[in-house]
């Protein structure tokens, strides 16, 4: 069964450093998302991406964040200058032209 994959599973970085989180969505899906989950809290929407452009972004998704779909398979989230409060699980999700949204296993980002 096709699934969303994410790498790395765990990323440790120092405050102020840039990180790139990578995702491979399910191959025939059209819509792509990033969410984050701070430990013990709910899953929060960051950004949605469709037709090679951002369709919506949340208040969390400020100028330090960017997304890219550099080729036909990868979908990346870049944080330019990480802060301590960026420490969280980051989930990529994708969906076809229906409602069902499928999540990857997540990348645990730890900013020290």
């Amino acid at each position: 069964e096709p699934e969303v994959t994410q790498t790395p599973s765990h990323q440790v970085t120092q405050m102020g450093q840039e990180v790139i989180l990578r995702c491979v969505p399910i191959s025939n899906h059209l819509y792509f998302y990033w969410y984050r989950q701070i430990l013990g809290q709910k899953v929060e929407f960051l950004v949605s991406f469709y037709n090679n452009e951002i369709s919506e972004k949340s208040e969390i998704f400020d100028d330090q964040f960017s997304v890219e779909r550099p080729d036909g398979s990868n979908f990346t989230l870049k944080i330019r200058s990480t802060k301590l409060e960026d420490s969280a699980m980051y989930f990529c999700a994708s969906r076809p032209d229906t409602y069902e949204q499928y999540f990857g296993p997540g990348t645990r980002l730890t900013v020290t």
Partner: protein, 112 residues
């Protein structure tokens, strides 16, 4: 700001019992209501979902009941098993952009 209120925050059920988790939404722009199951360290997995034109949907031991007039929906897990122990999130699909708005989550523990 869209909000979804989920209760209870935690739930302990004996094996074989019925687990009931409730959610209330505010915005009638939502038109798809999924439930996700999350095990520790994993991504949310789509469990079951319902459209607001249906009052109930059943898949195996899992049932969603939907009350459109009260803006509430609930997840019922019949014959709860220790393997059902996880965190459950209700969500709403916001049709503009397709983001999911999640509830706070319910940590379910099923005791043998």
């Amino acid at each position: 700001q869209q909000q979804v209120k989920q209760s209870p925050q935690s739930l302990i059920v004996q094996k074989g019992g019925i687990s009931i988790i409730n959610c209330a939404y505010e915005n009638t722009a939502f038109d798809y209501f999924p439930w996700y199951q999350q095990f520790p360290g994993k991504g949310p997995a789509l469990l079951i979902a319902i459209r607001p034109d249906v009052s109930e949907k059943k898949e195996g031991r899992f049932t969603i009941s939907f009350n459109k007039s009260a803006k509430q929906f609930s997840l019922h897990i019949m014959d709860s098993q220790p393997g059902d122990s996880a965190t459950y999130f209700c969500a709403e699909f916001y049709n503009q952009g397709g983001k999911l708005i999640f509830g706070q989550g319910t940590e379910l523990s099923v005791k043998p």
